[in-house]
């Protein structure tokens, strides 16, 4: 009897393992986890490449500028070697806060007796060129940092950019990603017909939409039951929106698409995400009805922050 039980347990465990691998493929990272195995569509590939490409470009430019600096040192190499000889560990390490160009100037200053007037003039001219190059490098570095930051700010699902989609709104008009470029911030609210708190927050969302229009922002809704365009579900959704007085746009698209998988992967409703003009998802998804004061406040703060950053 014991053997039977052990055998049964092993079988169940074995089955559960296969069930797990089966699940992994089905559950295919709808919301796009950091896992790079999500190379499902060319589109997501191209998007990732675009981001890293621009990062690489910037890094390349910075390297070019460093090369230019070294070239300057190379032109008057014996002069500069004499300057560098003046440097010792102490003086350099005590000046880590100082700009590079200033540090060079200080070095030259400390040993100016060694140099003729001519030489000093050349050195100062070089230092100024280097100062300019340093300024350019600093700007590029800032850009790099901003790119880094915007990726770390992204949502809990690790998705940086709202997946590209082409779909329709509930009145049948075509919609695609360009909808985001129309506003500084688009608040995307996910809901479905059977979700009581979602339906109850619709009036508050409509009011928010009116307020946001003045700031150049908007609310759009995505009813996850309407993905794939089931007309009866769409009619029901429209009836609910009418009843609750929600006049803002609601869109739907194929559940097979990248965006569709993202929407289908949302577990908790209502979920609201903030998307900027370029389609980047900013901040963590907001869960829960926006008819709650605290939640509404934090959302408004995030929106203002994004507008300020623009």
């Amino acid at each position: 009897m014991k053997k039977l039980l052990v055998l049964a347990m092993t079988v169940v465990l074995a089955v559960s393992m296969t069930a797990c691998t089966g699940k992994k493929k089905e559950d295919a990272d709808a919301a796009g986890t950091e896992n790079s195995r999500e190379q499902e569509t060319d589109q997501s590939d191209r998007e990732n490449d675009k981001d890293t490409a621009s990062q690489n470009e910037i890094e390349q430019q910075i390297n070019d500028l460093f090369d230019q600096e070294n070239a300057i040192f190379g032109i008057n190499s014996d002069l500069w070697n004499r300057v560098f000889a003046l440097a010792d560990k102490e003086t350099v390490s005590s000046q880590t806060d100082v700009e590079y160009a200033d540090m060079l100037a200080n070095l030259i200053e400390s040993g100016k007796e060694q140099f003729t007037q001519e030489e000093l003039a050349t050195l100062s001219a070089d230092v100024e060129t280097i100062r300019e190059i340093e300024a350019q490098i600093a700007k590029l570095q800032q850009q790099l940092d901003y790119e880094d930051e915007s990726t770390t700010l992204s949502g809990a699902e690790g998705l940086e950019k709202f997946p590209e989609f082409t779909g329709k709104d509930l009145d049948g008009q075509d919609v695609d990603n360009s909808i985001f470029s129309e506003h500084a911030v688009t608040l995307v609210n996910f809901w479905f017909n059977g979700c009581s708190p979602c339906v109850e927050e619709l009036p508050a969302l409509n009011e928010l939409n009116e307020q946001l229009q003045e700031k150049g922002c908007a609310v759009i809704g995505i009813n996850t039951e309407t993905l794939d365009g089931d007309q009866s579900v769409i009619d029901e959704a429209k009836a609910i929106l009418d009843k609750q007085g929600a006049t803002y746009r609601n869109v739907y698209f194929d559940s097979d698409s990248e965006a569709g998988k993202y929407a289908s992967g949302i577990m908790v409703f209502p979920t609201t995400i903030l998307v900027d003009r370029n389609g980047n998802i900013i901040g963590d998804p907001v869960i829960g009805g926006l008819n709650n004061e605290e939640v509404m406040e934090s959302v408004m703060q995030q929106i203002d922050a994004i507008i300020a950053n623009e």
Partner: protein, 295 residues
């Protein structure tokens, strides 16, 4: 010569293992506990027989009580024939065997009760057993239908305000891995966690307090014990009237008098305790004669 122990004995003996397997099978999608996703595939169209939350990341099927409330609480009221039919079928096929063998929350309480501490009898608390019928009728059936919002949608009142299994299997695993959810936990979570903690403490002191006093699913199945195809039979000829079965029964059932009492969860404690092997499970139609177990 009769075998010393019949199949009934072994079923009762390995109930713990069966409960463990049932809990695992009901929550088979283990990787979801780490990813924080809820399985949403085809399996979720089917109800599991026990109390197992739909929102449990690993859940393979839907909770019958949750599903019932979702259907009757929708804005287009439809009586849920499918779910009610499913529950009636299970009730007739198995009765409260589900409670005793297949319900994960029942197993949870069983395990808690094994924790050594002073145990109290619920013999004198029998009136409390009627509360679960009130929970079933009021919270599961009536409130979602009649307390609706402006669009005609009702809330799943039992799930929202009472069910501790939802906290244990749904809220806790999901909020553990999802910071967005953690951020919105509020008063309702505090209330439900309080209920879970109370049930945990009570389970250590009493045997299966939730099953006895609060569970709407157990309340529903209990209506079928007497008409179920699965019965407990006491062989009058073997019974010596020692009363050990009544003492062994944690559900306060007088086994020799009413072996198919609504409160009996078919755990088989009486089967194991009977010195004359007079009690056994019987499955099938008709009252039948008790056949001697021969090998």
């Amino acid at each position: 010569m009769d075998k010393k122990h019949g199949i009934s004995y072994f079923i009762a003996r390995f109930r713990g293992g069966i409960q463990a397997i049932a809990t695992l099978v009901s929550n088979i999608h283990l990787p979801n506990f780490i990813s924080g996703k809820i399985y949403q595939g085809k399996g979720k169209y089917v109800c599991v027989p026990g109390l197992n939350c739909y929102s449990c990341p690993g859940a393979a099927g839907a909770c019958p009580i949750g599903a019932f409330q979702a259907v009757v609480g929708s804005s287009k009221f439809r009586f849920s024939y499918y779910i009610t039919g499913f529950l009636i079928l299970i009730g007739v096929l198995f009765g409260r065997l589900i409670c005793g063998f297949l319900c994960p929350f029942g197993w949870f309480q069983d395990l808690l009760h094994k924790i050594p501490c002073k145990k109290f009898s619920t013999e004198r608390l029998k009136p409390l057993r009627y509360m679960k019928y009130a929970v079933l009728v009021i919270m599961v059936m009536l409130l979602p239908v009649f307390v609706t919002n402006v669009v005609g949608m009702g809330n799943p009142f039992f799930c929202k305000y009472l069910c501790p299994q939802g906290v244990l299997e749904g809220a806790l695993p999901l909020s553990a891995v999802n910071p967005s959810i953690r951020a919105v936990l509020g008063k309702l979570f505090t209330w439900k966690s309080g209920i879970l903690v109370t049930v945990i403490i009570l389970s250590m002191l009493f045997y299966r307090p939730f099953c006895k006093w609060l569970c709407p699913l157990g309340a529903f199945y209990s209506l079928f014990n007497r008409v179920s195809l699965l019965q407990l039979k006491v062989d009058e000829e073997k019974c010596i009237g020692c009363g050990k079965c009544r003492t062994a029964c944690h559900m306060d059932v007088d086994v020799t008098k009413t072996p198919n009492h609504a409160e009996c969860i078919r755990c088989g404690a009486c089967v194991k305790s009977c010195p004359a092997h007079a009690i056994c499970y019987r499955y099938g139609f008709g009252s039948g004669n008790i056949r001697a177990k021969k090998k």
